[in-house]
């Protein structure tokens, strides 16, 4: 099967998924609460007859549910996700403002997570049932058992407040100004503007939060790398490579790891979703001005439209990430081309 046909197939598969997500969001937003008007309008607007009528009209709340859903879908396609009760801005505008910070953090975190996870997984598989293996497995267990917000607090308390090794909360230090806005990613923007000082500061502030988020996903990566590498190392072609006298390092890293990483690739999409969820729970602690902190504030202040907007966005990113991973998988593993 050629690549373009595979892509078309995955797109056709993703469309009902995306529609389904809007149905679930719609059901949560319209069918579950007693009254969507109460949930979506600020307290002081509820007494205002005109505002209430306008809201009812805009979302078709006086129409039958099917029409309501279509209205909801139409508004959504036009980028209308409602207005945040707390910030008073359209939710989409808020998201556009906060997303780059989260994207930057998540990208750094997945790199850190992959490096740590794969490294630990290889160590654990090559020296299996030794002390290294047990240490890695315990580390992985701790990683999946620790609430990530606790990990963030401990990391900040130890590495920033106590030892002073890492930069504190925020994306930049107090005295550093934001680089000129191009992408919204401070590392890229400062690089483009040639502001080396800002770049260094931005990277320094990324270290701690991306270590926390990265180690959060690295446990799962280590586990999968380990079991997959163990399976691969038992394969015939590995024995052949050894038999022809290949250096052990190349056998493990070249022949073994490159094949063992395919299962890791397949879960990258899921991991990215986990990372975003982790961001919701940690960004507030690092005063990181991304959608995670936005969602945290929305949750703690019952800002319903904002919460729905963020949930929808993360679900969309999740579907898109999985779609990209499927394509990557197709390119990496020739076997599925012939099925």
């Amino acid at each position: 099967m050629p690549l373009y046909r595979y892509i078309i197939r995955r797109v056709l598969f993703a469309i009902p998924m995306l529609l389904g997500i809007t149905v679930v969001s719609f059901l949560i937003a319209h069918a579950v609460p007693a009254d969507p008007i109460n949930a979506n309008l600020p307290q002081n607007a509820l007494g205002n007859e005109r505002l209430v009528t306008a809201f009812r009209e805009r979302w078709g709340l006086d129409k039958p549910p099917v029409v309501q859903y279509l209205t909801y879908l139409r508004n959504l396609l036009q980028g209308d996700m409602g207005v945040s009760i707390k910030t008073k801005n359209p939710v989409l505008e808020d998201i556009r403002q906060f997303l780059p910070a989260t994207f930057e953090l998540a990208t750094f975190s997945i790199i850190v997570g992959l490096a740590m996870g794969i490294g630990f997984g290889v160590v654990s598989a090559v020296w299996r049932n030794t002390i290294f293996d047990y240490l890695v497995r315990v580390f992985a267990l701790i990683g999946v058992s620790f609430p990530i917000f606790l990990l963030a607090l401990v990391a900040l308390a130890v590495f920033h407040a106590q030892l002073g090794w890492a930069a504190g909360p925020g994306r930049l230090g107090f005295l550093v100004r934001d680089p000129p806005h191009v992408t919204g990613l401070f590392t890229i923007d400062s690089l483009l503007a040639g502001q080396w000082q800002t770049l260094r500061d931005a990277v320094a502030h990324l270290v701690l939060p991306s270590l926390v988020l990265g180690s959060y996903v690295s446990g799962i990566i280590a586990r999968i790398t380990r079991s997959s590498l163990l399976e691969v190392l038992g394969a015939d072609y590995i024995r052949t490579a050894r038999a022809k006298g290949q250096v052990e390092r190349i056998v493990v890293l070249g022949h073994g790891l490159s094949n063992a990483l395919i299962p890791v690739v397949t879960i990258l999409g899921v991991l990215y979703g986990n990372l975003l969820a982790g961001a919701v729970l940690t960004e507030s602690i690092f005063a990181w001005p991304g959608i995670g902190r936005y969602a945290f504030r929305a949750s703690t202040s019952q800002d319903f439209p904002a919460i729905m907007g963020v949930s929808m966005l993360i679900a969309l990113i999740y579907v898109v990430a999985n779609f990209l991973v499927d394509i990557l998988y197709f390119l990496l593993d020739p076997r599925i081309r012939y099925t």
């Binding site: 389904g20 149905v23 679930v24 579950v32 609430p147 606790l150 607090l153 949750s299 949930s311």
Partner: protein
Amino acid sequence: MQATLHRQAAGKLFQDLRANPVVVLGLVVVLIWFLLALLAPQLAPAGPLQQSIPDRLQPPNRSFLLGTDELGRDILSRVLYGGRITIPAGLAVIIIDGIIGWLIGAIAGYLGGIWDEILMRVTELFMAFPTIILAMAVTAALGPNIRNAVLALVIVRWPNYARLARGLIIETKTADYVEAARSLGARGPYLLFRTLLPNSIAPVVVYGSLDIGNAILLFAGLSFLGLGPEPSSPEWGRMISIGIDFFDQWWMWLFPGLAIASLVMAFNFIGDGLRDLLDPRLGR
């Protein structure tokens, strides 16, 4: 792995589990937490809500072993009482999910065809959302309290159980003894509950016990986001989120955090041992 877990094997499994030191450690810690939660009214030096402003923000010391919070409430007492919220909440989530998930999965697997197709597509939809995000939306819609947080977690976790149960039923329904029951005239609900249920429930129970840790973590997460019990509640996640504003008073967030971590880790130790024993390929 799943369908072969019969009663005899279960006895052997229990012996193997006891021989595994990590599992034993997990069991002991879980047992301790159950006892602490159960005996909290007897053990706690103070009431979980009892304020004493003159004693506010005390670091751990002789009279307040784990310190006090911003209203002078004793952290140790609050942590002990917290178990009375989190442990039952986690158990409730997996028990309800086990029942709902088994029913939906079993119906899909038993009826097959178009019903299977519909139910499984719906299941996949719910899995398209990262768990905590969907739970967040549901709790926000229902209004934040313990019951709704549990309900939200039930709504986001059942698909895992449904998929497991569906697979088990499909595997079980072709077995000879099911054929035998059918030829004796067993049909519909009778066949489902009297023949298929007892032969497919064990793996669901095992999966549930592996899942308690996750349920507790998610519950604490929701509660950390302010979507669980009310703010004054001694729930662990809630205590941590209040503790963020008192970063330098580390005892306010560290101890409830360690409570969650130790309990979840203990459950995961048990789960990990269980998994190794049931699926030897993963462990060795």
